[in-house]
Amino acid sequence: MFRKILIANRGEIALRIIRACKLLGIKTVLVFSEADRYSLGVKHADEAYCIGPPQSSKSYLNIPNIIAAAEISGADAIHPGYGFLAENADFAEVCESCGIKFIGPSSRVISLMGDKIAARKVMYEAGVPVIPGTFEPVEAEKSALSVAKEFGFPLIIKAAGGGGGRGMRLVRDENELKGALMVAKSEAEAAFNNGSVYMEKYIEGARHIEVQVLGDGRGNVVHFFERDCSIQRRHQKLIEESPATGIPQRVKEKILESAVIGAKAINYESAGTLEFLVDENDNFYFMEMNTRIQVEHPVTEMVTGHDLVKYQILVAGEESLPIKQEDIVQRGHAIECRINAEDPYNSFLPSTGTLKLFSLPGGPGIRIDTAIYNEIEITSYYDSLIAKLISWGLNRDDAIARMRNALGEFLIEGLKTTIPLYLQIMDDPEYISGNISINFLEERGFLNEGRSERRYLS
């Protein structure tokens, strides 16, 4: 097992990884930017090294300084968390070549799943249902038109190089096609340095269902059941839950089975997530795979009792699965709200400033993953997630009631947050009845007309 792990991240996930390391008795090294010198992660890690100025490009994305910090501290593994370098195949390769274990899949698998077209193809060939669409980049309007004729409108143009809504365009009819193709390609080029795009049939009223898997890199894979992450704004997840509600058990089982088949097909190592869309007739389609621990992993941990970050480390260190499928059992229901420093009533504009924290929620069924503390400054350098609030109950109603109460228990000032929005959603009858889809926020009127609201598909 590893002696010392370097954590190449910040905020709540850095703390989360420190906690998993302490559970395993492994020393921790945290790298930080000048903006994070007074962070909780720096306080709680065994060692910490400054790797650059506040800008991510010069610190959390600065591969030479991170590798050098691993060298001078004697770390034998690096945990990348999520975001930053977590799905950067080059970084994984540098780690491999420096003899430092990258806690995640191989650079080859990261590359493969990072190429969304290649990922579709691999999954399709393994027998996993994928969204009807192209298996090659769509270059010209002419080929786009022939694709459109094959699958029919509406269609989505997506970037091969990455997810998150960038380079993505909904096309409702032939007239929109040419313009959308051009814009998507140039957006993809700008965002991912890769102008390749592909086309998929647009699935109406779909739910976002994803499966948490863990593989040993030798073809053995277990799943930790599914999460419903349908409550999104511009492909940014806001609320996640497990188990998914309102999907027949036999369909869930098919999805879980497909996810395991898909992960086995690529000899997946580490924790990963296969994302699916489920349409109104309970047909499901593979969308993409995230080759990292995800923001929303706590809902799975609350329901199964298993520690996914611990297992990530164990798999990386021991190259075998620490758990059998039959020992992974669901109990109750968990919901996560991502508390973002954003104004939900003003186009989700990021809010910055010095946070005055008086009190955080607690008590039965409440988990908080956060790195905030009183008087910490929330800057615009990094993403706006300031806390993950997770509630658990023996059933979904209790989880919702506890979430509602816990949201009300947050006593913070100095920043706008998404808490008021979540309080409204927890009282929404459609949400309470489990009647949700990826269009939920829009359909239920929770999104104001912000000035840039329609820049991406929403």
Binding site: K43, C50, P64, E71
Partner: protein, 149 residues
């Protein structure tokens, strides 16, 4: 007379700083600056750790003289000489020019030369040969001389 602009400037200074209290006097100046009587979060065991970290600011007052720091631009291992048998690039009381190599920092098996941004005289060497350094860590304390752009 009370100078509102002055006050606004002082308020800005306090607002965008890590200090908690500023007192300004007059009649041959009296300034008190208090840093975190309360705000900062340290456990007992952190305080020593924190005390070891020198301030990152390249300019700082010390005994009334103006001094500057050469800080590390990268993370790595600090070497005062190009190889173990060679003499150090510079020593205490040596004069250095802008652009002159003052040390090497090894990272990922590469030797990176660090050059001075100042003209001045080396007054302190703040890191031992062979020690690890982090980004922004002060390496040398200089007393500036002549022109410093």
């Amino acid at each position: 007379m009370i100078d509102v602009d002055l006050i606004k400037k002082l308020v800005d200074i306090v607002s965008y700083s890590n200090i908690e209290e500023l007192r300004v006097g007059d009649r041959d100046i009296k300034i008190t600056i208090k840093k975190f009587s309360s705000g900062k979060v340290y456990r007992a065991q952190d305080i020593s750790k924190e005390a070891e970290t020198p301030q990152e600011s390249p300019r700082s007052e010390e005994k009334g003289e103006e001094v500057v720091y050469i800080t590390s631009p990268i993370v790595g291992t600090f070497y005062r000489a190009p190889n173990p048998d060679a003499p150090p690039f510079i020593d205490i009381n040596d004069e250095v020019k802008i652009g002159q190599t003052v040390c090497i920092i090894e990272a990922m098996k590469l030797m990176n030369e660090v050059k001075s941004d100042y003209n001045g005289i080396i007054r302190k060497i703040l890191v031992e040969n062979g020690e690890p350094v982090e980004y922004g860590q002060p390496l040398f304390l200089l007393e500036p001389t002549g022109e410093n752009a």
